[in-house]
């Protein structure tokens, strides 16, 4: 598999460690397939999918990628929050047309990392993404809720990492 996407997290540009895992869809899960291979798989979700069918597997799944077909389509943010509310604790990736300016939204909605096409990564280089990292701590929502991303035993709030 050629490297056509660029993975980015708080440390900057990173190699894609998911490229050798098998690919799962909600459809596969509905059919009860691959139930024993979760530790070696990535669940790929479209941003308009109803996830109720996979909720009972969320404790076993380790990796989920949510598609962002267009930078102005914000459904993925709410889908990520919903997965975290349902108790998903594995890695969560936002994949598609995402701008550095949206890294804050991605991270504060419960994602760990993004994956963008190499063509986009060439134009919006690593420095633009790293500029965003210190901004993640400032959150009005943390003030309103005493840390909304805490979600009890789930992930620590972004601001306290």
């Amino acid at each position: 598999m050629t490297i056509e996407k660029q993975v980015i997290d708080d440390t900057g540009f990173r190699d894609d460690s998911w490229q050798f895992f098998s690919k799962l869809t909600l459809n596969d899960m509905a059919k009860g397939m691959a139930a024993r291979r979760f530790d070696k798989a990535v669940l790929y979700l479209e941003n308009d999918q109803q996830i109720e069918s996979c909720v009972r597997y969320l404790r076993q799944i380790k990796r989920i990628s949510i598609a962002f077909p267009d930078a102005s389509d914000g459904r993925g943010y709410s889908l990520a929050r919903l997965l975290r509310l349902y108790g998903y604790r594995g890695k969560l990736r936002a994949e598609g047309h995402i701008l550095a300016d949206q890294y804050r939204h991605v991270r504060q909605s419960g994602f760990d990392e993004v994956a963008i096409p190499q063509s986009l990564a060439k134009r919006i280089g690593q420095k633009y993404w790293l500029e965003q990292v210190p901004r993640l701590a400032a959150s009005y929502q943390d003030r309103i809720f005493n840390s909304p991303l805490a979600m009890r035993q789930e992930k620590p709030p972004i601001g306290n990492q």
Binding site: G74, L85, D101, Q102, R104, R135, Y140
Partner: protein, 554 residues
């Protein structure tokens, strides 16, 4: 008034630094215009017909003299010496250069102001009753909730890319001056002796091409549950709202499609999940904000009878009679300053006028100013003993029109003079109508009347809720104005009904005259206001007067 914390200040600095970098990347081509657009919109920057327009937030319409003076500075330094107050209690500067926006935002931040989320498909500036804190009988000061809403919605990671813009209004009074029934979410603060303070939640109201009256989702929501509940509404809307057609993307269309019952069920399910999983609301923060909104110390105000001032000065008496509302403290009045001087563009104020109002507020009225959604400016707490002096000060700057609530107190969108979406002019129509009312000297006789004008179907001038609504469209290259009657944005919410075929700009003047003739000839007494008269007689007598030939042919 709310005092910015260190957090607010550093948040603003960070946002400005971020925006400057975005502008730089746009100017050097790293960002395409399509990618830059949502980013500039979330910072209040529009590209209009002739230039960039910057819309600056005035959260829930409250500001002090320092902030008003800052707006005056910006009008002078970066614009053409004036600003335009909007129906969302904001101000717009119409002649802005992209390269200067970073500096403008930095100057605004010096006065704890910003342009965040005044446009774009996100939660917009929250509006409330312009009488907040000054009117009698409020369940609470709605600005406390409005400020909490400002903080909750500012930079909310989940709702920065909604299907469409999203507007929230709060009221705490039986008399709804915040038009909550026509917002994506309308919040009414209520107080019950048994359950305490809480909220009524309305959803899916709106104007535009599919006008809807908001539907009640909850008749009582406990105070501490507000943000879990709003998050539930927003999350359902963000996932399920339509994105294939911008005219069907507002939450009102989703509520229509799901039906209120199903929508309520989905939202309540999401609410329960969030209540269970998320930490509770920060009640300490609310208590701090509530302290900031404590009323000014009124103890220096004297008991003062305005009677003598009025007798000695009939023009002042007329002004006081028309532009004042009762304050909950008898030593004060709520004063509305009309930005609808006959013949001038509704909502416009010059830098000198802004500075003069700032000075009057500081010298006489506890340094507090409000902007109303009806595009006027208020001094919410004016001691009666200073009223005459303030009136004289307003006369000096040409802002002493005694027409609040009358026919010439018109709401109008910017229309074809500024807006890329407009299909017709609206400001010149408002100006012409106001001049006509002035010339015929009959608006006092007509009494309370709300005329609202939109220059396109998007209804930024709120024509659907005008007692007389005017909608400017384009027919084969010619402006054509349709009339609706009987709209009402108050607690008796109603949508106006179309009279029939539209009129040219010239014929429109005569048509409005005819409508008013029908009312004046038919009302039982002056107590029967235009809107009451309309509710009694309906559309038909107006139709007969507007379209005589047609009616005869039938």
């Amino acid at each position: 008034m709310y005092r910015y914390t260190d957090f607010d200040k550093s948040y603003l600095r960070q946002r400005i630094e971020e925006f400057r970098a975005q502008v730089q990347r746009r100017l050097t081509g790293v960002l395409s215009e399509a990618e830059f657009k949502p980013l500039r919109l979330q910072n209040g920057l529009y590209l209009q017909l002739h230039a960039y327009m910057l819309r600056v937030a005035i959260p829930y319409g409250t500001l002090d003299s320092r902030q008003m003076e800052k707006l005056a500075d910006i009008a002078e330094r970066y614009d053409r010496g004036y600003g335009h107050f909007t129906t969302r209690q904001n101000i717009q500067f119409n002649w802005i250069k992209l390269e200067e926006t970073g500096d403008i935002l930095a100057e605004l931040a010096e006065a704890d102001m910003h342009a965040i989320q005044t446009s774009g498909n996100c939660i917009r500036n929250v509006t409330t009753d312009h009488f907040a804190g000054a009117a009698a009988g409020e369940a609470a000061d709605p600005r406390i909730t409005a400020e909490m809403l400002r903080q909750w919605s500012t930079g909310h990671p989940e709702y920065a890319y909604l299907p469409r813009k999203f507007k929230i209004a709060v009221s705490a009074s039986d008399t709804d001056r915040a038009v909550i029934a026509f917002h994506d979410i309308g919040i009414r603060i209520i107080s019950s002796p048994t359950a305490g303070t809480g909220y009524q939640i309305f959803v899916g109201g709106g104007l535009g091409r599919t006008p809807r009256i908001g539907r009640m989702l909850r008749s009582f929501l406990p105070e501490n549950d507000l943000f879990h509940y709003l998050d539930a509404i927003m999350s359902v809307y963000n996932r399920l709202g339509r994105r294939d057609n911008k005219y069907k993307a507002r939450i009102k269309i989703l509520i229509d499609a799901l039906g209120v019952e199903d929508a309520r069920h989905q939202i309540e399910t999401e609410f329960v999940r969030r209540k269970e999983k998320l930490p509770p609301m920060n009640v300490k923060l609310r208590a701090q904000i509530a302290q900031d909104f404590a009323l000014p110390d009124f103890s220096a105000a004297r008991r003062y009878d305005l009677h003598l001032d009025k007798v000695l000065n009939p023009a002042f008496a007329r002004f006081a009679g028309q532009n004042c509302a009762a304050h909950k403290d008898q030593r004060h009045v709520i004063l509305s300053i009309s930005l609808k001087t006959h013949g001038s563009p509704p909502g416009d104020a010059s830098a000198e006028q802004m500075r003069a109002i700032a000075r009057l507020a500081k010298d006489y009225a506890y340094d507090e100013i409000r902007i109303s959604h009806e595009q006027n400016i208020l001094l919410p707490h004016l001691p009666k003993q200073h009223f005459l002096a303030v009136w004289k000060g307003l006369q000096e700057i040409g802002l002493a029109s005694a027409n609040i609530g009358l026919a010439s107190d018109i709401i109008a969108c910017p229309g074809l003079d500024y807006c890329t979406l407009a299909t017709a002019r609206s400001i010149p129509i408002a100006q012409a109508l106001a001049r006509r009312f002035e010339a015929r000297k009959r608006e006092e006789d007509i009494g309370p009347l709300k005329i609202k004008i939109s220059g396109c179907i998007n209804a930024c001038g709120h024509h659907h809720v005008g007692h007389i609504g005017i909608l400017g469209l384009e027919r084969a290259g010619v402006e054509n104005y349709q009339i609706t009657l009987g709209g009402d944005g108050s607690e008796d919410a109603a949508l106006g009904s179309h009279t029939g075929p539209g009129f040219s700009a010239e014929d429109l003047m005569q048509a409005i005259d005819r409508i008013l003739d029908v009312y004046l000839a038919g009302r039982t007494s002056r107590q029967e206001t235009f809107i009451r008269f309309y509710r009694r007689v309906g559309l038909s007598p107006f139709k007969a007067a507007l379209y005589p030939q047609k009616t005869e042919a039938l």
